[in-house]
C-alpha cells in the first residue's frame, strides 16, 4: 500500500514539476519575444537588403533593360582583377588599416589618462574632448581644407618661418591620400576613445594594487594587468574606425581629389552617376564579406590571446 504521505509527496513533486515547466515555458516565451525585436530588425534592415544586393550583383534584379541577364560575369571580372576595383580595394584596405592603427595608438593614452589619472575631472575632460564634435561634420572637414590648402594655415606658416620658399608651398596637402587619412583620424579619435575609456574605467583597481604589492613596477603592471584588460576596448575601437573607413566616400569626396579616391567612392559613383548597380552591388558585397571575415579573425585572435594569457 502506498501511504498518504507518499501520495502527497508525489503530488507535491508533480505540482512542482508543472510549476517549473510553466515557469520555463514563460521564460522561453519572454526570451523569444525579447529576441523578436532585434531579430526582426536584423531581418528587415540587414538580411533583406543584403539579399537584394546579392540579387542585383548577379542580375536577378536589374535597374535598366540594357543589362545582360543573370550571370556571375561581374563577379568574375572583379575577382580576377580585370578591372581596377580590386586594386582600389587593396589601397582602401591599406588606408583604413593605417588610420585605424594610428587612431587607436593616439587615442589610447588619452583614454588611459581620463580613466586612470584624471580622477574626478574625467567626465568634464571627456566632455571637452567631445565638444568640437557638436559642430557640423561638413564644417569640420572644410576647416581642414583651410588648414592644409596651398594658401592654408600650414603652408602660410612654413613660408612665413622661411622653411619653404615663397610660391613653393607643399603640394598635395589639400587633396590626396594624406589629407583623407588626417581628416578621418581627426573625425574618429573621440569615438575611438570611448570604448577604451569604458573598458578601463570598469577595471577592478584592486588588481593593480595586488600587482604593486607583489612587486610589479608600474610599467609591468600596465603590461600585465591594464593592457590585457583593456584589449576588448582596443579591438572594439579598432573596428569602430576600420569598418567605416574602408567604405568611406564623403571625406575622399571633400579632400581626396583624384589621388584620394577610395573603394567607397567607387561604390558611390557606380550606384549614382554610373547607374551600374550590378558592379556597385558586387563591390558592396565584397566589402561586407571582407569586413566580416576580418572581424571574425580578430575575435579569434583576441580569444586566443586571452587563453594564452590565462
Amino acid at each position: 500500500m502506498v501511504s498518504e504521505n507518499d501520495t502527497s509527496e508525489k503530488s507535491d513533486t508533480s505540482e512542482k514539476k508543472v510549476r517549473v515547466a510553466s515557469l520555463a515555458r514563460r521564460r522561453h516565451r519572454v526570451t523569444r519575444s525579447l529576441l523578436a525585436l532585434p531579430l526582426g530588425w536584423l531581418v528587415l534592415f540587414f538580411l533583406i537588403p543584403v539579399s537584394l544586393v546579392v540579387a542585383y550583383s548577379v542580375g536577378i534584379l536589374e535597374t535598366f533593360t540594357k543589362e545582360e541577364g543573370v550571370s556571375l560575369e561581374t563577379w568574375r571580372i572583379f575577382l580576377t582583377g580585370e578591372n581596377v576595383y580590386m586594386l582600389l580595394f587593396i589601397k582602401s584596405f591599406r588606408m583604413a588599416l593605417i588610420v585605424a592603427v594610428v587612431v587607436v595608438i593616439l587615442a589610447y593614452p588619452i583614454a588611459y589618462f581620463l580613466a586612470m589619472i584624471a580622477d574626478k575631472y574625467k567626465y568634464s575632460l571627456l566632455l571637452l574632448m567631445i565638444a568640437p564634435f557638436m559642430t557640423n561634420f561638413f564644417m569640420r572637414v572644410m576647416a581642414w581644407k583651410v588648414l592644409l590648402g596651398r594658401q592654408g594655415v600650414l603652408n602660410s606658416f612654413l613660408i612665413w618661418s622661411g622653411l619653404r620658399d615663397e610660391g613653393n608651398p607643399i603640394e598635395g596637402l589639400a587633396f590626396g591620400e594624406i589629407p583623407v587619412m588626417i581628416v578621418l583620424g581627426y573625425v574618429w579619435i573621440p569615438f575611438v576613445m570611448l570604448p577604451m575609456f569604458a573598458a578601463m574605467i570598469s577595471m577592478d583597481r584592486r588588481l593593480l594594487e595586488a600587482a604593486a604589492d607583489l612587486g610589479a613596477s608600474r610599467w609591468r603592471a600596465f603590461w600585465k594587468v591594464t593592457f590585457p584588460l583593456s584589449l576588448p576596448g582596443v579591438v572594439a575601437s579598432f573596428f569602430f574606425v576600420f569598418i567605416p573607413t574602408i567604405g568611406e566616400f564623403v571625406v575622399p569626396k571633400l579632400v581626396g581629389g583624384t589621388k584620394g579616391y577610395m573603394f567607397g567612392s567607387a561604390i558611390d559613383d557606380l550606384f549614382g552617376m554610373g547607374l551600374d548597380w550590378r558592379t556597385g552591388s558586387v563591390l558592396s558585397l565584397w566589402l561586407v564579406m571582407a569586413v566580416f571575415i576580418l572581424a571574425l579573425l580578430f575575435m579569434r585572435l583576441v580569444r586566443f590571446g586571452r587563453l594564452a594569457e590565462s
Binding site: L87, L88, E171, F175, Y261, G272, G274, L275, D276, T279
Partner: protein
Amino acid sequence: MSDGRDPISRRDFVKLAGKGALVAGAMPAALAACGEDAPPETVVVTETVIEERIVTETETVIEEKIVEVEVPGEAPTTTMGMREAGLAAENGADLLIYAPPGREVPTQWPGYLGRFPHPQFAATAGSFASLGELQLGAIEPDIWNPCFAVFDTAVSEGLVQPWDTSLIPNFADLNPNLTAATSRDGNQYAIPLLYGLAIPIYRADLYTPKENSYSILFDEDLAGKVTWTDSAEWFVVAGKLPENNVANPLDPTEEELDRLVEFMKRKIRIVPAALYSDLATNQTDLATGNIVASYVAPTQWIELTKQGVDIAFITPDEGFIGFSCGYFLMADADQYYHAHEWVNAAVSVEAALTISNKFNFGNSNLKATAVDNPLLVDVMGLGDPAALDGVSLLDKMQNIDRLNDAWIEVKAAAGV
C-alpha cells in the same frame, strides 16, 4: 492575364476623360445653337468609351475603345478645346516637377501662377542620380528637368513620353538645333530650356596655348594646373582630339572607348586636386592662379571676366562641345495638360531672359535676345540657330551608361 491589349494608364485615363468631357460639354452648346424648327445638324465625332472587362475572378482590365457617334452641332475638335477640358479634369495642385533647386522660383515660369494652382517641386541631385531614382520609382513626378546627356537612356528605358507640341504655343520659338537633338522618330521627347558651350579657358597672363584645341586640357606642361569636371563627357572631349582618331566622339565604338580609357588614365594624373564639382572653388583657383586652365560653361568665364581676371577662352578647331537641359514629360504623368501649360510658361521669352540674365546660360527661345550681357550674346550667338551648327551636343550621346562606367574606372585608376 490579358488578351494582349494593354490596360489603360493613369495618364491615358485623364486624357480620355478630357475628351469625354469635351464631347459632353459641346452638346448643350450645340443644342442651344439649334432652332426648334430647324432639325439639328449632326456631325460624326469619335468618342472614347472606357470599358471595364473582367478577365479572371481577381483581375479586371480597363479598355479604351474609340467609337464613332453622331452628335448634333459642330465637332469640337480643336486643340484648345481639348486642352481646356483636359485641364478641368486634372487637379493642377498635384503637378510635381523634379528639377534642380531654384527652379521653384515663379519668375522662371511666369504667367502660370494665378491661372493654375502652385505646383509642387522636388529637388534633383544631378541628372544621372535622378535617372536612377526615377527608374526605381523612388519618385513619380510629372515633369523632370535634367541635362540631356541622359536623353538616350531616358527614352530607351520608356521613362518619358513625347510632348504634344500643339499644346505648347512657345515651342515654335525654340531653337530648332536644340529641339532636333531632343526628338526621336518624329516625337518631341524633351523641351529644351537652356544650353551652354563647354569651353576651354586659360589665364592669358600665365600661359600661351600652342593650338586652338581642347588639347590644352591634356597639356602635360600644365600638370597640376588644370581642372576637369567630374563627368563622362570627358570621353567626348578626348574623342574630339585628332590624335585619338574617334569617328563619332558622342558614340565611340568599343575599341575606340578602350583607347580613350587608356588615354584618360594617363592624362588624369595631370589633374592635381579634385575633379571640380564646386564652381566657386574652381573660379577662386582660376582667379588666384592656382589653376591655369579649366573646362567651364560660359557662366564662369563671364564671371571671371567681370572680376577683371585676365582670362581667355579658346574656340577649338575641332568644334565646340555643347550641352542643353530642359524638360521631360514622364511616361506616367498624371497632370498631362497642366504639365504642358507649365512647360509653355517655362520656355516663354520672359522665362528665357531670366535664364540668360541671371544665370548666364544660353536660352532656347530665339526671341529672347534682349539679354543684358553682351559677352553671352557674342559667345553663344543667342538668337541665331546656326550658332549651334557643328556643335557636338551631349544630348546626342549614346549608351551613356557604358561611358559612365568607363569614367568611374578612370577615376579609380587615378587613385591607385
